[in-house]
Amino acid sequence: MNKIKLKFLSGGKIIKAEASPGQTLSWVLFRAGLPIKLYCQGRGICGRCLVEIKSGPLPEETEAERKLKLERRLPPTFRLACQLRLYQPLIVRIPDELLLLPEIKNLAGKFPGSGRPALRDFNPLVKKYVLRLAREDLSREERLASVIKSTLGLKQLAFGPTAGHKQKNVGPSWRQSTAVIYDDRLLLALEAGRTDDRILGLALDLGTTTVSARLLDLVKGKTLASASAANLQAAFGADLISRIAFAVEKPGNLKKLRRAALKSIAQLTEVLAREAGVKTKWIYAVCLAGNAVMNHIFLNQPVDSLGRAPFRPAFLSHEPVPGLEVGLSLNPRAMVFTSPNLGGFVGGDISSGLLYTGLPSKAGNYLYVDLGTNGEIALKKGKKILVASTAAGPAFEGSGISCGQPALPGAIEYVKWSGDRFKYRTIGRKKPSGLCGSGLLSVLAESLRAGWLLPSGRITAGRSEIPVAPGLTLSQLDIRKLQLALAALKSGMRLLLSTAGLDWTELDGLYLAGVFGSSVDPGQCIAVGLLPPLPRRKIIFAGNASLAGAEMLLLSGQARKSAARLPLKVQHVSLAELENFQGEFLKALSLGRRYWRKNDV
């Protein structure tokens, strides 16, 4: 069959590619190493995969494209990459913001509260010991094990899965060797000479859209570098459910997702290593905090059960796995420790976040809320911890909101009503280009105060939109979508409280986690009714708690013990099965403080 010749203009470069007739542009881009974000998994409904045809015969428009253009009045050269089928040679411009290539951000000092976790002990997951060995110690594994055990006073010692510790050519350099031991029980490697000054660990937060990582020196317990990048899985769908749908569609798809995640991690690790001036092969331990779906994909476990009711994970805790087995290219003998899933859609990112806050062992009553798409909530009362996920959706990431955008430079992040207009502040003090989550929340709070909005969510004075900044307005429909997202979180919190027989006034503290959760103004959260009106000092920002928790797991034996026990302490509450969800959800749709009033019936 004749191949079609294509040229892609991207990031100031020209990339050549070929396609078979009838292939979609998005697939060809993926194959050409230019994966793009497919927000609706290429179903032609989100209209966000727009590329520009610079030259060549314009292919016939699909119905999805026609409809979108009627709505947006786009020029005919703007086309949906997921819909366009190729039959003729074309030159196509791919906008930078559509690309999924690693856009690596240095995270140093980025999130409040996610600096150094408070460790109760310093006991890294892998350690190195210098040993004096005789030639015959190295000849047999049993002998080597018993020598190491007795020298280090270990009760037991097994050999790591990629054995090969038996050395054939034992030269003088092996007299002094360095043993790499995982969790004081597993010999991972024996290195010739004295290498105990360098051993690294990687803390990973594997999220649906973003992967964050931190590289640690496990000798000193020091952070060497932190960064984040896009999760390349987004090429297969933007949200968790789309990923699940893709994974179960065809055998082999799960593997594709896993490879995409591994690629993101590998790219990120390279960057971190370069930044810190170290080698990736020095990394012997990884602690991974991934949400439930990511944990499954990473560990090669089927995700089917997470895609339909009753939404059960295939596992909670998982044995540590050799990095090689899951395809991580670090030191070939590295081991991976995963933070446990807690039930339903509440995954390892939440368990590690909880560990970071120290909440499982604190006295008192605490709420932990991750203000993300999944809206996970944990409530600690006495010895019990209840968890749930509320599926708030991506409205507060700006998705589906007419003037919404991710928290990037130019996004309005805060507003104040001055009596005749909104005064706003943008990220990076740039010209405003849209509103990010905290900005949206801020507009709601100030609109309520200024009388633009009724508690029912209706815009007042017969208007149909709220003008925020030149060219940026919040429509009635936008507000409805935000109400749904807020209601999911609010009703989730309240139902967990009532399941535990607790009133919000009895809370000793409330942790806010996640990037959005770190950028909101607590006063405005209370004003719109997202949070109960607790005194300011009880609202604690936990930042990227998942990553900080993963770091803690790398460094502290106590934290790892806690992690192992956590699934036993936790009870997952399936909100859908609670009889009063609908009533609570409908009540929670109202804006303002009223929802948290006592004796509200």
């Binding site: 409904i45 179960v248 895609g307 339909r308 009711a309 009635q476 109400q483 099965e577 409908l586 009540k587």
Partner: protein
């Protein structure tokens, strides 16, 4: 003020529009007690009121709580009026019989409940199978109940495919012409509905009513 028939109708109509669930029933009783015909009350107060609720929803004035309250107030009034009709030996002609549910694997039922309420409020008989309903059960119930419409709700991109499976089962059993299939739920689109061979798609609970009506507009009817 003297209890004028028109005042009763107006008060009832307002109670429904404002979603005053506790007042709608007693107001309907008063209207009947004042000597008005139940059918007249339905046609002149209830139907215009629920249509007004729908209009306010479409205009963006009303949101879910107001819509639900309106539908429930309507239900309270209709319970009273149907009782009154029955005791005078009459009965209300059903607008159609609908089997509704959220498809297998999906527990989101708020939207489905809303559609059911609005359909009921608009004179449809609704058999609600709940959430996470197996494909088979939709078809079996529709056959047993001699339904006109099968209404399917799905909120997940994974489970919307089960709407397709219902249509397929109908086709394979040669029942496709016997029932109209109507689909909805946030991820469902008109295009998807057409692709899977559904007969109708509604974006909201208010639209669900007009779609159901138009689906049955030219029909002979499966039941009497």
């Amino acid at each position: 003020m003297k209890p004028e028939p028109n005042n009763h109708l107006q008060a009832l109509s307002q109670a429904i529009v404002q979603g005053l669930v506790d007042e709608a029933g007693p107001l309907a009783e008063k209207a009947v007690a004042a000597g008005m015909k139940p059918l007249q009350v339905i046609e002149q107060a209830c139907v215009p009121a629920i249509e007004e609720v729908g209009r306010l929803w479409e205009a963006g004035d009303y949101f879910l709580p107001e819509l639900i309250a309106g539908a429930e107030a309507m239900k309270a009034a209709m319970t009273v009026l149907q009782e009154a009709l029955k005791s005078s030996g009459q009965s209300l002609k059903s607008a159609g019989r609908v089997v509704i549910g959220t498809v297998e694997g999906d527990i989101h039922d708020i939207g489905k409940n809303l559609v059911a309420s609005m359909l009921r409020a608009s004179g449809f008989e609704v058999i609600d199978l709940g959430a996470d309903v197996k494909v088979e059960r939709f078809v079996e119930t529709a056959e047993r109940e001699k339904a006109d419409i099968i209404a399917l709700s799905a909120l997940l991109t994974t489970t919307m495919l089960n709407q397709k499976r219902v249509v397929e089962l109908l086709v394979s059993r040669g029942l496709k012409d016997k029932f109209k299939v109507m689909v909805g739920g946030a991820p469902v689109t008109e295009k998807f509905a057409r692709e899977i061979g559904a007969d109708g798609y509604g974006e909201s609970a208010v639209q669900a009513v007009s779609v159901a009506r138009s689906l049955l507009a030219g029909r002979g009817g499966n039941h009497d």
